[in-house]
Homo-oligomer: 441 residues x 3
């Protein structure tokens, strides 16, 4: 398997444009944690990869939680006395506080004001607010729009339903030779927010496309789910599958121009943590590695103490630390084709490590084998040696059955791909044999 | 138990004044490793806390040592030929080398000079010198006084006795629900030295007052003892009690204006070390943490290899590193009410950690429990979360029965008190149960 | 045993001159991996220390390698049409590519050029090149000489033989009370290169002279062998001896003016690693410690996974990082008497640690023993204590049977020799007893 080599054959510019194009298609949909927005989104993903869709009825008990009522919205506005819509859901779906209960009536500005959310420090941007677990309603608008509202009566309408229905989950599974699984998870519950939502969806979909039809060592499970309640629901309904997860990544905020951030799993030194940190160290500029904390995305659920899965979170900017976060400024211009494609490359390289991180046994462990007679050494002595030869010496020296290729890559500070190439070459030359792993493949 | 919360109710200014006032009462007494100076000091402590006093006879074998003769002094001086006392014990008890044998006679300045100790680099200060284990005598005086001595004969008198008697130890014990003990130890053998002696005595006494009458988990033992020989004697006579000591602090030099120093126990990562470092990191400016070394105060004895107790040493300035150390400049102005009170607060907070550092079990370990339905979450989503909520998530995430609250405080970098509050709240809400500890309480 | 104390009695200047003098004797010899150059070199070492010489026939299988044909050279030159030798082996033996096959004929400059090696960036220096495992021939010359060659025909002669013969190994063994061994290894296969070859030979020879005739705890084995093939051959023929090696040092590049570099063994924290780093930290200016890598000198073979011996490499400059490396500028002026003698002192101090690194048991482990009554303490109290007393307290505190003297030296940050002196003194005073080691001595 040479996933990374194949990836590097692709046209990087075309790839970036394709990722951004998919985000553009998904952008207008008003997603929430339940409802038709999620269904439409999953249908568009399903047109690219084999997605299994599960509907979980309202009221289903999932651990300490209950699947909520389904929310759907058709229209919403605030209309001034002259009949003009001063706030209009059809212009931007962030205008409605997500999960608002239906309302239709007339009220004065002072009655309305407590229901209006704006960002004084960013007066042109509309904030994103939700009220999932408390029945309530409200509007979000730019601070300039808010200040422009004149005294008087307004017609207020949220044409939404909050009724028994379903929570919708999307899942794509590629079986490998081993039943041990890699989990790739992203959330699909934010309305028109590009970095925080669509970047994860597009990168995860494309990674799944790259894996489709391949001979894989590990099995791969992609989840496209509403944040928090979606992860909790999936875990509650799939405890056996969850036990097979060996490595996992939550993907989010992968389209902006920041350097990469990798947040470690609760375990802190799991193979996924080491693989991600190794890849980012060799493949990106000044990546930052964050310790686990119990707040963030769905790694909160995967890393809860009952599961304690080896799941980290890969992003560029970190939620809450960039001004565009949870505002209308997290739009299609905030994410860029090049950044999305680089993020996909990082994910591909991490998967490549997981697939190929095996242990080998040096079959000539006493002193160095004579590489020269096999054409694996330089012929004239006295000068320096290259990195490829150095990689061969490292693999031979540490292939005592204890060190994995990732161990060797870390200790030698050479890229995993170079160490992996060296191991393949040495194996072809009869100098290494693969140690059989626990899972037998 | 909410020792720290109760402490924070106290009037900080009044507390500082009370601590300093007690030091002022103790200051004039001429203490030594034996004798009436120690007895007077212990009697004054006994008027505040229930102190048990033990007299150990001269000649008692204590490990490799022997309890020395008892030293008592009434007067001492050097009188010039004009009858004027040029050096007078009654003006300052540092003038006599502590434990000097009695002498009365006349001698020339040149005969006298080898017996005189001064500090050329601090010409106004009187040094503090001792001769505990070698029978000898001498005087200490300022360098300016020394230089002023004219040639001629001097009457020299040390009206002291060095005879069979007793070594005196003070001990205050508060039994808790567990027989596991916390040791608080300070030395009471220095004459008029304020930071190096009285600051430890006053802070330890006040800490004992705070603990008196409380329902305590651990048992507490306060030792007010002469340095070195006192600790050795106590350990030799109380080997069973010593085996019950789980955590300990030597208190000294707690009144000056330096930032805190904590010297770790020989073990280096004992719970007391972690508790002290955690508290000082959160509660004081740029504390410094020192590795254990076998020189210093009575941690030398508690951390000898036969005992190897988890005993650290808390101070502000470190002995030997400040110019006033072991001189007459270590006086009542060198220690300040605010500093004494802050030191007491640090001790209180450390004890609070030891009392409350339990392990808990998350009763809903699969995914996060739904805090919102219990009123433990914010209701509108999309913005940041506060530290209290963050503390709850940390406690839930790490309460797998393996992590103590101190582990959680360290990993989350939140103050222990906030983590402890979160645990109490979650327990009240049925989300946590306490893990029973080895000692059953 | 007080090897280091004895060393410090020697006249340092005379020692340096003797080391450099020996290097001067060895310099002109044209060494290679086989042949009379090695034999002459070993004979000169044998005149100083008891060296056992082993001849291993061409064709002998040694692990994955075969002992090569023996190479001997008598003369070599390139003669211009005017009969003048423009390149002459007799002026400098680096002029011939080492291990060149014999050739005698006439060829044009353009035919000859691909056979000529020079260093454009150092136009006055002759490079050192070899062709051990590929039958080939060539000449090395300064870039200025190369540029001065005029078009025309040249007589080219390499009067060498490459025939069945032997590989020659030199070995010097000092048995100690224990059969556990210390290996000191250096290469003897480079022609006129001073730092990279002769510095290791002279320092190793002198270290052997210092050990000769001593009562030693450990056994010592010195190897003077051709690089790579020599180490592989010795290991293949001496597998039982190799199993007894507990600590080892490869010595090389010890005469230049750089600070020390110590490259750790593959194990990374072996006793030899700790001993070398401790000694260099206390005894030299800004030493640098390098992680193991599988390229370099014969530690490559000793640290191959089948052996994984605790062998590090001590040098000043590191191969490949100084411009003189593998050129004619690595000559007798590049190495200096003072540097050679300091290197010998470092080796001696490291051996001193290995010889004396024992564990002791404090016989008075409860509290401190009273050092004063044994004359091991200062008598007047109140001031500072010296390092010797501090060392005694450290040794007493950590001598619980678990800590070796090196552990204590590391933790106290005091030099091993001071810790060792303290242990001897305390043992003489009945306060310590030696813990018997695994090897019984």
């Amino acid at each position: 398997m040479s996933l990374l080599r194949d990836f590097n054959q692709l046209d990087f510019v075309v790839l970036g444009q394709r990722l951004h194009g998919f985000a553009r298609e998904l952008y207008p949909i008003c997603r929430s944690i339940t409802g038709d927005g999620v269904r439409q989104t999953l249908a568009m993903i399903q047109s690219r990869i084999p997605l299994q869709i599960t509907e979980v009825p309202t009221g289903t008990q999932v651990f300490d939680w209950t699947v909520p009522k389904e929310w759907n919205i058709r229209d919403a506005y605030i209309k001034a006395s002259d009949g003009k819509r001063v706030v209009d859901f059809k212009r931007c779906n962030l205008h409605v506080m997500n999960y608002s209960t239906p309302i239709h009536g007339t009220m004065s500005l002072s009655e309305l004001k407590p229901r209006l959310h704006s960002l004084p420090e960013k007066p042109d941007w509309i904030p994103y607010r939700t009220t999932y677990y408390k029945e309530d309603w409200g509007f979000c608008l730019s601070h300039n729009e808010m200040k422009g509202l004149k005294e008087g009566d307004y017609e207020v309408c949220i044409d939404a339903t909050l009724e028994d229905g379903n929570l919708t989950l999307g899942e794509c599974y590629f079986p490998g030779r081993s039943t041990e699984e890699v989990l790739i998870s992203c959330h699909v519950c934010h309305p028109s927010l590009a970095n925080d939502n669509l970047s994860g969806i597009t990168v995860a979909s494309s990674l799944a496309q790259l894996l489709a039809g391949r001979d894989l060592r590990l099995s791969y499970r992609f989840l496209f789910i509403p944040g928090t309640i979606g992860a909790i629901t999936w875990l509650a309904l799939n405890r056996t599958a969850a036990e097979r997860i060996r490595h996992g990544l939550v993907l989010t905020c992968l389209g902006d121009k920041s350097g990469f951030h990798y947040k470690k799993s609760r375990q802190g030194n799991a193979e996924i943590d080491r693989a991600a940190m190794h890849v980012l160290t060799h493949q990106s500029e000044s990546p930052e590695f964050l310790e686990f904390s119990p707040y963030g995305y769905d790694e909160r659920q995967y890393c809860s103490p009952g599961f304690n899965l080896s799941v980290g979170c890969l992003s560029r900017s970190v939620w809450g630390t960039f001004p565009e976060y949870h505002t209308s400024a997290d739009d299609l211009e905030f994410i860029q084709p090049t950044q999305l494609a680089e993020s996909l490359r990082a994910c591909t390289a991490i998967v490549d490590v997981l697939e190929n991180n095996r242990r080998y046994l040096n079959l000539k462990p006493y002193c160095e084998p004579q590489l020269g007679k096999r054409g694996l050494y330089r012929s004239t002595g006295g000068g320096a040696i290259g990195e490829e030869l150095n990689a061969r010496l490292w693999v031979l020296n540490l292939s005592d059955g204890q060190h994995s290729l990732l161990d060797i890559a870390e200790r030698s500070q050479l890229p995993f791909s170079m160490i992996h190439d060296a191991a393949e070459l040495l194996q072809q030359n009869g100098l290494l044999s693969q140690v059989s792993e626990q899972d037998g493949v």
